[in-house]
């Protein structure tokens, strides 16, 4: 499943750019993601990674370029249309509907996320409830279903965000720093969750600072800097790239990452 994508990539970004006034947050970025793949995106803060997600998920439309999902243009779609087209997203900040229970959070995704509803029904219906419960089960937080979201600990909130994304039955999941602020043990838990999501056939793009997490999970890695792509390739080739080492990782971090990756392999 690694390397070259299939004939039509699931997601294809062509010369995508986003500027805020004079500041270009993303410049002329092109890349593909094949079905079933995990693409990891790294880079310093402010490199345009989150902005790229905002652009793809429609919250902040692109200023230039085209985005294709399954060969269909989705550029300029509203966030809800992007969601209905099959792209779900998690957020860097632990977003949640804080006044609702965990189950209601996921129900929102299950009921509104799977397709456009011209007229909302009087009740959510069994199908939506079942999809919500299934998503909670998948992320292993079914026992938290009745807890109020605002009071959940950080890890559960992150998992809940993934569950509500999965409840929309996406083809592609965008994850923005899924392990930011977690301890090592919690990171492992999220890693298992990501693998389970991949196993269910969902394609994933993830942004992460924690390189250990990124190299372990990603089939391919893209490094962004100043809104541009400075590297795209297999994790194994990352440390051989001069630009990445010089501009992003620095030598100390590169060495530690190399020993970590060797230990992982051996």
């Amino acid at each position: 499943m690694t390397g070259d994508a299939a004939a039509t990539p699931l997601l294809s970004c062509r010369h995508v750019g986003k500027s805020f006034g004079a500041l270009a947050a993303v410049r002329d970025l092109s890349f593909d993601v094949g079905a079933g793949e995990i693409l990891g995106i790294g880079g310093p803060n402010g490199a345009g990674k989150t902005t790229l997600f905002e652009v793809i998920s429609g919250l902040n439309p692109a200023t230039t370029g085209t985005i294709l999902l399954d060969g269909q243009a989705i550029t300029g779609f509203a966030p809800e249309q992007i969601c209905h087209a099959g792209i779900a997203r998690t957020f860097q900040l632990n977003a949640g509907f804080d006044s609702m229970t965990a189950r209601e959070n996921v129900l929102v995704g299950a009921y509104f996320g799977q397709g456009n509803r011209a007229i909302p029904t009087l009740r959510a219906g069994r199908a939506a409830h079942e999809a919500a419960d299934a998503a909670l089960d998948m992320l292993g937080i079914a026992d938290r279903a009745d807890a109020v979201t605002g009071k959940l600990p950080v890890l559960d909130r992150k998992l809940l965000m993934m569950a509500s994304a999965m409840a929309t039955k996406p083809k592609l999941l965008l994850m923005d720093e899924p392990v930011g602020g977690l301890t090592a043990r919690e990171v492992d838990r999220v890693m298992d969750a990501v693998r389970a999501i991949k196993a269910s056939g969902v394609t994933i793009i993830l942004i992460e600072h924690v390189m250990r997490f990124l190299v372990r999970l990603s089939d391919r890695i893209m490094i962004m800097h100043h809104g541009e792509k400075i590297f795209e390739g297999l994790p194994a080739n990352l440390l051989d790239d001069r630009t990445v080492v010089d501009v992003y990782l620095g030598h100390g971090a590169s060495e530690r990452l190399r020993s970590f990756m060797e230990a992982d392999r051996g």
Binding site: L59, A78, G96, F97, M100, E104, N116, T121
Partner: protein, 322 residues
Amino acid sequence: MTAIRRDILIGLVCLAIAIALPIVMPGRYIITQSTLFFIWAIVVVQWNLVLGIGGIFSLAQMALFATGAYATAMLGFYWKVPMLAAIPMAGLVTVAVGMLIGLACLRLRGPYVALLTLAIAQVMYVLIVNDTGCFTTTGGCMPLFGGVRGIGQFGDIGLRALFPSKWYIAHYYVGLALLALAVAISIVVIRGPLGLAFRALRDNPGYAMSRGISRFKYQLWIFAVSAFFTGIAGGFYAVHFRVVGPTVFSFSLLLFLIAMIVIGGLGSIWGPLLGAAVLMLADEGMRELSDYRNIGLGLLLAVFVIAWPNGLNGWLQRKPAR
């Protein structure tokens, strides 16, 4: 599900009491005041959907009420449409007007919505009052919208003819039925998926949209639903009083109704109803002090928002639970 069952139970108990009232207390004054209460209650229950649930800071609700009333009167006066058909038609006219207002202001942020809707209502008022040209001269000069004096003689729903001495009791039950329907709709909206969508939008708009909720579409929906019932209430108001004038636009009426919602509890199912009842009773009590009515009303409104922002409903909810 328990919340819905509780709401239905409360609703049925209230309904039973209201049905029995004319039998226990058949006095004409009480019955007609109760009918007026039903009309205002419909308006505040539906306004609450827009304001408290939809989070749309619209002050156009009285303009919509007026639209319903005027549409009913004009359909009867100019085209001789029977009132039983005119009222639902007026409801649809109100939906159309409501959608226009909605399209103009729903993309704006909260305070902009409030100002724009207030201005729209004001302009409708000014245009009606300042119009002095004669549109028709049958039975004297009358402007298109009736001008300052308003429109009368547009027909009746027939209950006055059917029950010549007890027609006001019949109107009471019509008002009650309409209110019951309005409350039922409000329960369905608040407890159903629409309510879920609006809670999500309030908690975190960006997140809600990326989970597939179209803010604009659902806001327009709730605006339309609420406009329909408010228009119907306006139509019933017209036939009940047999005249429609520009007083329905008055600021003190707007103040009176918004105070009902705030004092009862914005965003709750029973709060606005409670608020309407309390304020109608208080108004009754202050009848002698009518000079001070608006001072008291304004003071009440300010004090409640500052000291008890969740209204009477919030105060009641806090007592038993937690």
